[in-house]
Amino acid sequence: MRPYIDKKNKMTQQIYLGLFIIFFIFSLLQVGILDERIFQAFSRVENLLKGMVPPAISEPIDVAGAAVESLQVAVMGTLWGVVFSIVLAMFAAKNVSPHISISYAVKAFAAFVRAVPALIWALLFIVAIGLGPTPGILALAVNSIGMLMKVYAEAIEEIDTGIIDALKATGASQFQVVMQGIIPSIMSIFISWSIFRFDINIRYAAVLGVVGAGGIGWELVRASRVMAYDEVLGITLVIFGMILLAELVTRFLKDRADMATLKAME
């Protein structure tokens, strides 16, 4: 029996490998990566690089304003995402949801929201609302909900049902059970996921501007349209600095949160 299974496994493996190779070669031919243009690219890149140095920023105030707007989009998007995720997670977690079918419905909604990328949400909201930071905030909020609601709900489901029973037994209302029992119990998981999500959102916020959803991405598009490559590099460096700064801040917050948890556990 055993050798037979091994043989069968090996054969399926070979079939998969064969299919993969065929697909790979097909793709190469179709997409034309081995185009002669790729060999001409060297001179183009040379020109591009020459155009980029030294980096420049012609409108420092505009660029700074756009960078701040990106930060704002990230902060607001995360904040709204967190708030809605908490509320929805209370309906998604099986152990606190009013009904199991509500739990499934909310989880399905989150799965759908998660499956659609942030850029697509931004495009949809731009169509609905118009250009500017608002569609960017909404896109990040919705995209965050897809992820945060899932992890919050999982954290709630891991809670010992005993503490829910204990608070119910005191005559506490559902709201009180959530606020006094569930939230304190998931606080540290909740904080670390929210910070992690902010890290993701700051990166998204930098590129959302490319489709017109506010922030520094738009400056990048503007500069590259007029082929001001020195400015493209300048703005890229600003984005880099912005993300680095945000990362330092979130790392500091995370360390603080970990410290608090450690201290409490001593």
Binding site: A166, A172, M179, G181
Partner: protein, 249 residues
Amino acid sequence: MSEVVLETKDLSMVFPDGTQALKNVTLTIKKGELVSIIGPSGAGKSTFMRSLNMLNKPTDGQIVFEGENVLKARGKQLRQIRRRIGMVFQHFNLIKRSPTYQNVLHGRLGYMPSLKGGLGRFSEEDTRQALEILRRVGLEDQAFKRADELSGGQQQRVGIARAIAQTPSLLLADEPIASLDPSSSENVMTYLKNVCQEDGLTSIVNLHQVDFAKKFAHRIIGIKAGEVVFDGSPKELTEGITNHLYYSK
């Protein structure tokens, strides 16, 4: 002579999976009684106790608590019944990350408006009372520690303090010492009995250990396979009855 606090009539419980956990349990508990329910694991002790405050809903029968029909109660009325029934759990069921005094204050939630209680805006009077109750269970020094920093026995005393903070007319304890070592068990049972006697509380305590039950209670009820098979004073509980309860089929 003394008034009835709790009455159950033909209380039955069949779980959705078909397990019959309670069969026609009919009992009357009078004011001031200290009752122990004993019986082997799986007898239905927890199910009976959790039915009294509707943590699980019996499928048949009646529960009357201080004249109110518990099984008919919903929403606000149910919360008002629950706040008069304190409950102590085997695994303490404290909010581990919250400080001790806050766990005691949770006993006041049923008396507060939903929003105010949810936001933890407990009154000064409630806080003072909570600290006083902690003193009564010998934990005044631990009031501001996180609940999970306390030992098992101490955590269970916080559990008792939370129940007492409800100013209940009935105190339920479901195997309060089953996860404690022998000396903590002694200690917790002593505190439990003391607060019951000081406040003239009516109390029902599920206990696996017969010796603790005899020491604690005025009245012992034996449950086996969901049915009451013994109801009498500790003296009337002979070895023969205990053997029947725990060992015979």
